[in-house]
Amino acid sequence: MTFPSDTEAHRFDALQSAIYASDDRFRLFNSDPDFRQGLTAELDRLLDGRSVLSLDVFDTLLLRDDSSELTRFVEFGQRIHDFLGSNAAVEREPAAVDIFLARYLGTKVSYRAGRRVQGCREGSLTEIYRTLIRLLDLPVTVDELVDLELECEAERLTPNGAIVDYARQHLDRGGKVLLLTDMYMHASQVRSLLGKLGIEADLTANLISSADTKVSKASGLLFAIAEESLGLPADEFLHVGDSLRGDFSQAIARGWKAFHLPIPRTAILRRREDHLRTEQWLSESHGVMTSVAIPG
């Protein structure tokens, strides 16, 4: 549109819009020099002397592929089924779909009935697999199944080159890096996963997971725990993440600086397609539906 001559219009979303519109964020983050330069400049501007660079993990420090959560859960079931098939102690391994559903039931109960802290509940991968093992009466340990899941996850995750490099640079210039994740994986499990993906240990030294704290970024309560763990006030933190609510709005509400790193529209659409394909397969092959949410 045309404005009166003395009128100017401004926007503040150049980077977010570029990411959202991107068809290939792996290329954008890992090998687009202009984008990387712009991102570095913006993070520098927002850091502005702050000592802590706080990073979300999934879809921020690590980039997921375009598979949906539902598909990954089904894959975990298949992977465990194969593992049990090769385990002499297992008389007859359950069908892969039953392992998937037992994991689903374990997830539901972990989020619904788990211990409450400050009115919040969060899931726990350890609880999920403990429940699965009991429901299916399997002669295996929780750690064995968690390791299988982490292996599966690692195959579908890639380090975010631009963010990893920026975090490294921040550490090198004397800053602190903190990882904050709203996830059912406990900190030790996330750390193990990051190790499998080649993320160096000094980047993962400060890592807090909602699976341990039982409060989340989405509730806004995890930020206070982070401040306490590092012994620093809110104005020392810049947080970067993909969740508008958990990583951006709640961080700002707490008095942190924040930068939103959205997931591209095409990636979300591909994940949705993948979700619907798997959902259809579950329905047609096994006659079951689950309440695993469609990516949004």
Binding site: M1, F3, P4, D6, T7, E8, A9, H10, R11, F12, D13, Q16, S17, Y20, P94, A95, V97, D98, L101, A102, L105, G106, K108, V109, S110, R112, A113, R116, G119, R121, E127, R130, T131, R134, L135, L136, D137, L244, F248, S249, Q250, I252, A253, A258, H260, P262, R265, I268, L269, R272, H286, G287, V288, M289, I294, G296
Partner: protein
């Protein structure tokens, strides 16, 4: 006779076949799925610190069903846990020493309208010696049960006996709980449902333990305990009514299926099986343990047991598949049963607990076909279909017994909350249909649903609050356009930098030189693309649900006919001191508005921009805000808008219209245009009216503006009424149309008559204008002058034969209660309303005019 027998045999055969089908294909798979969910939670919680307690009486059958479920299931053969031999009344007795207020309130609620005598007898009905020792004919026991909490504190002979009994119950219950739980910290109650009232009592009485509840479903009523809700787990559904997206929630409209299925044929355990009452309680316990099953009354339980026995060892996926296949049909059967299905589904009446002996019918036999029906106990002399539907525990089933075909289906829809009277004649659908939308599409940031335009100029304190108001919206698909109209841009940038709004949803437009309010609106609107538009000035704010509700209205079946919608508003009085906003009060603003008429709008604007969401196509059709008007542009826009389309009203105060109307904020930087610019408003009200007439001089609707001015003139006379008759603390009108004060009233009797006369004259003229859409063209009734006599005004009113709005200071309820003959007339529709009666007859008859 032989023919009747044949008919009966045929009916019995059909019933049997239907029950077989329901048990095997529907109830069996659904109950098995519930038992899988129970098992899932038991296995999650199972550790040395946790006790699982199956709460009698339902727990007796739950434990048996769970045992049957586990046969052939991997890992466990027997259910973990113990039976907890309690009832709600036993727990109320048991915790009455630890938490007397809670226990007494519960007892009082259960016997609210019954005599205290019944309550005492109910409490002690297994203690005949105590009862014999009491004077149950005492007058005091005639009082209602809701007096129990106070009554029990009086040291009378009956009270002493009750208190002594409750003390002993408290000791026994402490012993029972300790014996069951030992050192375990966590207790999981397993029961049928629904809102954890027993769990609540235990949670408060024994706070050193953690109490969780695993129920078939969770249904919260007004009496639920919010502090325990997160630990009240509905395994199959958590809902207050039927939600089509969750077919299991059909049980919320007929939970008695589950209760009847799980209720053993034994008495309620009203005594505590420990200490002094052990023997008495155990007699009750044994009757439940050794219940006799009846093929007719217990057919559901027997069918489910048979299903579990015949389908042991199913995989998780097979259990889930069968359940997901069965549940929609079972939901259909609960919500829309045919007559035959309703009869087949009937099992036995519910027995009341809490010391009462009565049976409550699930379905009531209509008298006309009494022989084939389910329950003859429920019938009462003089029953009609409506009263039976009201009294039955399964109204959908009762409707099936009473009516057939489309009538039955429609009534079933209504009692299930799936349609409303308002939707009945609406061909476009219902609110329920609106709610059943598919997965929402991903947002298109170039074309958001709503453009929110905020005009600001050097008021960062207020702009920050506006940003918070926008950020709090539960509806997120918007673009926020901030128009800095000639102020310093930097503070605006700082507010934007600190706000928690998605950066893709912010556009900042800065005018180096102020263009004026209306031009600023136009610039902001044209800098965005959207389906809807709303002006959110920097000094106003919203309830978090404002956008969600207005957008939902305009996109829903009801709103499609409207070009825009307003919500009701709240007037907020405040001042700015330094960087702080000091609020002085808030009250409803123009809360009489129920609809928006051109003639009404012609009197003056009666809603603020912050309350108005409208379609962009209407903005384009109107041609934008009139930039020639320095004030009142919104009023002029609304008039133009109403020539194009209607405006709906959401009768809920979701917009906050802030005014710096006290202290130093009345004028200067933080002044409102309606407070700081009063003289401008007066001047431009005339200019705006004239401009509107020039534009639309040949349009009939324009005539409404002339009439509107006349109405406004009448109303302005309220303004000129002596100050002494005004209400104290009346809100400034904040009206940007000029000339219409808030419709507050007065309590001064002598002048009230003049106010009524002006009011009725204004109402007559409003009705005349709205009837013809032109200047009195098609009406036989002519407008009246505010100076007309009562005689002339009433003559016009009688000729109109239409209901008038009630003068706000007139108390309708009190008038009706003081004049039963009028109330009777209103009920029978022979009197239009209380106020109409007063002005037409009451005042002449010398009846009192009750004010508010």
């Amino acid at each position: 006779m032989a023919s009747e027998q044949r008919d009966k045999q045929q009916t019995d055969t059909t019933n049997e076949a239907l029950r077989q089908q329901i048990g095997q294909e529907l109830l069996g798979p659904v109950i098995q799925r519930w038992l899988l969910a129970l098992h899932q939670h038991v296995e999650y919680f199972r550790d040395a610190d946790t006790a699982f307690l199956y709460c009698a009486r339902a727990g007796v059958r739950i434990e048996r069903l769970y045992r049957a479920f586990l046969q052939g299931y991997a890992g466990r053969d027997n259910p973990a846990g113990d039976l907890f031999w309690i009832s709600r009344i036993a727990v109320a007795k048991g915790v009455s020493q630890r938490k007397p207020a809670l226990a007494h309130a519960l007892l009082a609620r259960e016997y609210w309208h019954l005599p205290l005598r019944d309550l005492v007898t109910g409490l002690l009905r297994h203690q005949p010696e105590r009862l014999r020792a009491m004077d149950l004919d005492a007058e005091e026991l005639n009082a209602h049960g809701h007096n129990f909490p106070g009554w029990i504190t009086v040291k009378g002979p009956v009270q002493r006996e009750v208190v002594d009994y409750l003390q002993r119950c408290g000791d026994a219950f402490d012993g029972y709980v300790t014996d069951l739980l030992q050192a375990r910290k966590r207790a999981i109650l397993i029961d049928s449902g629904w809102q954890g009232s027993t769990q609540s009592l235990l949670h408060h009485a024994y706070p050193d333990r953690e109490w969780y509840g695993l129920y078939f479903g969770r249904i919260l009523t007004a009496h639920h305990d919010p502090s325990i809700v997160p630990d009240v787990v509905g395994l199959m559904f958590e809902s207050q009514g039927y939600d089509p997206a969750v077919p299991e929630s059909a049980f919320a409209v007929h939970r008695h299926i589950i209760e009847v299925l799980l209720e053993p044929n034994g008495p309620s355990i009203e005594e505590i099986p420990f200490g002094f009452s052990l023997d008495t309680a155990m007699r009750l316990v044994e009757q439940n343990k050794d219940e006799d099953l009846d093929a007719e009354d217990d057919w559901m339980y027997l069918a489910v047991m048979r299903y579990l026995d015949e389908n042991t060892g199913l995989s998780i996926s097979e259990i889930m598949r069968r359940h997901q296949q069965a549940m929609p049909e079972l939901a259909r059967l609960i919500l829309h049963p045919s007559r035959q299905e309703a009869i087949a589904f009937y099992a036995k009446p519910r027995s009341a607990d809490f010391g009462k002996s009565l049976k409550v019918p699930v379905l009531i036999q209509p008298a006309a076909n009494a022989e084939e029906g389910p329950d003859e106990q429920g019938s009462q002399q003089g029953d009609d279909a409506e009263s039976r539907i009201e009294r039955s525990l399964w109204p959908q089933g009762q409707i099936a017994l009473e009516y057939e075909g489309g009538v039955a289906r429609d009534l079933q829809m209504r009692v299930s909350g799936l349609t409303t009277d308002a939707a009945y004649f609406d061909p476009t659908g219902t609110a329920q249909a609106d709610a059943l939308q598919a997965v929402p599409e991903l947002p298109d940031f170039e074309r958001p649903v709503v453009a929110i335009v905020t005009r600001t100029k050097n008021r960062p304190v207020l702009l920050k609050r506006a940003a918070e108001s926008v950020a709090r919206q539960t509806f997120g698909d918007y673009v926020w356009v901030i128009v800095n109209d000639g102020g310093d841009a930097e503070p605006v940038r700082q507010v934007i930098a600190a706000c928690p709004i998605d950066r893709r949803r912010i556009v900042f437009v800065s005018n180096r030189v102020s263009l004026g309010m209306e031009a600023a609106s136009n610039v902001g609107i044209r800098a965005s693309g959207s389906e809807f538009i709303v002006i959110h000035d920097d000094d106003d704010s919203w309830d978090p649900g404002f956008l969600a509700k207005t957008v939902s209205f305009l996109r829903g079946s009801r709103g499609r006919r409207y070009g825009g919608v307003i919500t009701q508003s709240t007037y907020v009085s405040e001042e700015i001191r330094g960087d702080k906003v000091i609020e002085h009060g808030r009250w409803p603003y123009q809360d009489w508005v129920r609809n928006v008429q051109i003639a009404e709008m012609a009197c003056g604007n009666f809603f603020p921009p912050i309350a108005f969401v409208y379609r962009r196509e209407l903005y384009d059709a109107v041609g934008g805000y009139n930039e020639a008007l320095p004030v009142l542009g919104d009023w002029f826009f609304n008039l133009e808008f109403l020539l194009q389309a209607d405006i709906g009203v959401i009768v809920e105060p979701l917009a906050f219209y802030h005014h710096r109307d006290t202290g130093g904020s009345r004028t200067g930087l933080y002044a409102n245009s309606v407070i700081g610019g009063v003289s401008k408003h007066e001047e431009f009200a005339a200019i705006a009216r004239n401009e509107f007439l020039r534009r639309h001089g040949n349009n009939n609707a324009a005539a409404s503006v002339v009439l509107g001015h006349a109405m406004g003139d009448i109303r302005s006379r309220f303004d000129r009424m002596p100050e002494r008759i005004r209400e104290g603390g009346m809100a400034p009108s904040g009206d940007s149309g000029g000339g219409w004060p808030g419709r507050s009233g007065s309590k001064a009797g002598a002048d009230m008559d003049a106010i009524d006369r002006y009011w009725v004259a204004a109402e007559i003229n409003r009705i005349v204008a709205s009837r013809q859409g032109g200047l009195f063209g098609g009406s036989k009734v002519k407008p009246v002058s505010p100076d007309s006599s009562w005689e002339d005004i009433l003559r016009a009113l009688r000729a109109l034969r239409e209901r008038i709005a009630t003068q706000p200071n007139f108390d309708e309820s009190r008038y009706l209660s003081e004049n039963p003959d009028v109330a009777d007339g209103v009920d029978r529709n022979t009197v239009l309303c209380a106020y109409a009666h007063y002005v037409m007859f009451g005042r002449a008859e010398g009846r009192r005019r009750p004010g508010k």
